[in-house]
Symmetry: C2
Subunit: 390 residues, 2 copies
């Protein structure tokens, strides 16, 4: 998979008009540039430079103690150094004499922002007095395309995790009963994860997240001792990780009161609004649209029905990382930088995950996963059609 | 432990003449500033700012979805935001009106360099037009002191991992036989680690590292299918992690040839040189010395005996991280930046780990751990006295 991604890079670099792509890193067990999972798959200790050129040259400059293990990755011509990387790095730049150099920082895309500011300053010192200092640009364009354009094999791995997650959701529907706590439900799910021999998609203190009833903690919190009651809307945010890829899905349940045989209208209506907004966004998404346009489709559908807008982006990419970097289906908010304006590409894999608070009941939210095709979003998940009744 | 570290910070900030310490972070499951293990112990998703002032105020500004989980950490006044952090951040800076602001980047100390360059640029945009942009300095001074000055409880945890590692080394001495591969030895050690219910100090593909014979891979490589032979010098680099702290030790063995009852002189002599250089450095180290001075003591002892100098630093700090940041006992090489000149402090915990290649046999290397006391280095490990014969 790493060889596949390295070989994808030069043609993307030509699209982006980049001659040389430099990833500068150190002590990657402490701070690991996420792009190394795409193009290296090993750790390095001392200052290290990974170079890919638009002419398909690949060079790794690493500390002498790291030479052996980087050589084992097989993707690179490996050059070791002892006292300092500066001179060797300049010599390699001279060798390729690149006009435009992409380096691993980005204001917009966190998955392209692995260079620390201290390392940036070190790099600038090395480049002082060379022609290269003025030729640097962000590698976000390369990385987001490399990460976003999923190969059939990558999609297969994501789909496998989606299927597994849905299978576990089915078991949870059998298992959950009023009186159980959020933590008990989470523990059941983690048991299933262990039984399948996979990992959770993000840290298991919060994966799964389980939220029951009208006073639950809201997104990004761990499960609590809050008990499921009849009349609660409950939702779970969960995904699995295997073969280095992952899934990220949400489903919503309703616990019938003794007198009920179906959920009350005030629950069904927002649920259906969520469901239909997802279907609409999936149907309308196209390569070439900007992320904000897709966000707006679902956001407007929901607010037009009189509901509050959801306080986050409509969807993010999924891949090796749960939040797999730029692009994003998001509104034009300060914290999203240029992401709302990035163009959607074919074979990107996105979540779609709007939410509505239902006063007195809980939160209705589903999170589905689609892959972008020329004629719209193709669901990789099996979209939830009805609120699940227990 | 996090509360203890947070409460240690204001007095260190006064020493460093810093009024406000700002740690700026995002999506910490992808890139996690290592200082968050000291002062937060949780993850955040959106752009987040963690403020500690020299007057003991603590404020966390986090995305609204993260509010609950950050509130659960209890160390901070938590302020949530929805669309962008900029305005809230400026308001908090105005509230404290700091003269000198430390932020989380460093050229020298990787453990103080968690701010990515993209995030630095974002922060600069927020601060544009405010008086604060010109008041920024690196927080490396705060972080290295906070991390370096180990409390008795921190030393207890490190010592516990050292004892465990030494216990496992004893079992390895019983287990190893000529004919076994490096991988078999490593698998035995990992079994012991699992049995003890702890973790390895660094990634378990390379922890333990096992190197046997004259043609082994050198440091920082994983164990191979190379077989132990009679006449081999073998060394292992290994440590355990429990209670969030770790150890990092090396030991050296010799496999007797059929005719031998002790190791040959050409093995014993470099072994003893290593051993004695460690003892000398530990005896001479004092608070207030510069790291390079201690490095030189051992380096010179070894080269004076006619051996090559070791191609790395004499020792690093150990704590929550295997390489626990600045200071460092290192030579004045380019890649070490200002680290050779940092002053050693009381209660810092250092490895001492010189090495000598023994042509035709392998590598002699020990790695011991000391804590710096006013009158010298106190061994936390039980220093290896003789090469272990098998």
């Amino acid at each position: 998979m790493i060889r596949e991604k390295i070989s994808q890079a030069p043609s993307i670099m030509k699209e982006e008009n980049i001659d040389l792509w430099l990833t500068f890193a150190r002590e990657t067990e402490v701070i690991r540039d996420p792009v190394l999972d795409l193009i290296l798959g090993a750790n390095c200790t001392w200052q290290s430079a990974f170079i890919i050129t638009s002419e398909k040259d690949t060079v790794a400059i690493v500390g002498s103690l790291d030479e052996t293990r980087i050589r084992e990755t097989e993707g690179y011509e490996v050059i070791g150094y002892k006292q300092g990387i500066g001179e060797t790095l300049i010599r390699q730049l001279d060798r390729f004499s690149p006009g435009r150099i992409a380096i691993n920082y980005s204001e917009n895309d966190l998955m392209s922002d692995g260079l620390t500011h201290g390392m940036y300053l070190i790099l600038m010192k090395y480049l002082e007095g060379t022609p290269y200092a003025d030729r640097l640009v962000s590698s976000e364009g390369i990385i987001s395309k490399l990460r976003g354009r999923k190969s059939p094999e990558e999609i297969r791995r994501i789909k496998k995790n989606i299927d597994l997650t849905e299978m576990i959701f089915s078991k949870v529907s059998e298992y959950m009963k009023p009186g159980m706590t959020e933590k008990e439900v989470a523990a059941f799910i983690l048991d299933q994860v262990a039984k399948e021999g996979v990992e959770t998609s993000w840290e298991k203190e919060q994966c799964p997240s389980v939220f029951t009833g009208p006073e639950s903690a809201g997104a990004h919190a761990g499960p609590t001792d809050r008990k499921i009651e009849k009349g609660h809307v409950l939702n779970i945010d969960f995904g699995t990780r295997s073969e280095r890829y992952c899934s990220d899905l949400q489903r919503t349940w309703y616990f019938l009161r003794d007198s009920e045989t179906k959920a009350p209208e005030e629950v069904i209506e927002p649920f259906n609004t969520i469901r239909d907004s997802i279907a609409l966004a999936a149907a309308k998404i196209r390569p070439g649209m900007e992320g904000r346009e897709v966000d707006t489709i679902a956001r407007k559908y929901i607010t037009d029905k009189g509901y509050d807008e959801f306080p986050h982006a409509l969807g993010h990419q999924v891949g090796q990382a749960t939040h797999d970097g730029a692009g994003l289906l998001c509104p034009e908010w300060e914290r999203y930088g240029n992401l709302p304006y990035l163009k959607i590409e074919e074979n990107q894999v996105y979540t779609i995950e709007p939410r509505i608070n239902i006063p007195g009941y809980g939160v209705a939210t589903m999170e589905e996963i689609i892959v972008v095709r020329p004629d719209g979003g193709q669901f990789l998940s099996d979209p939830q059609k009805e609120i699940i009744l227990i």
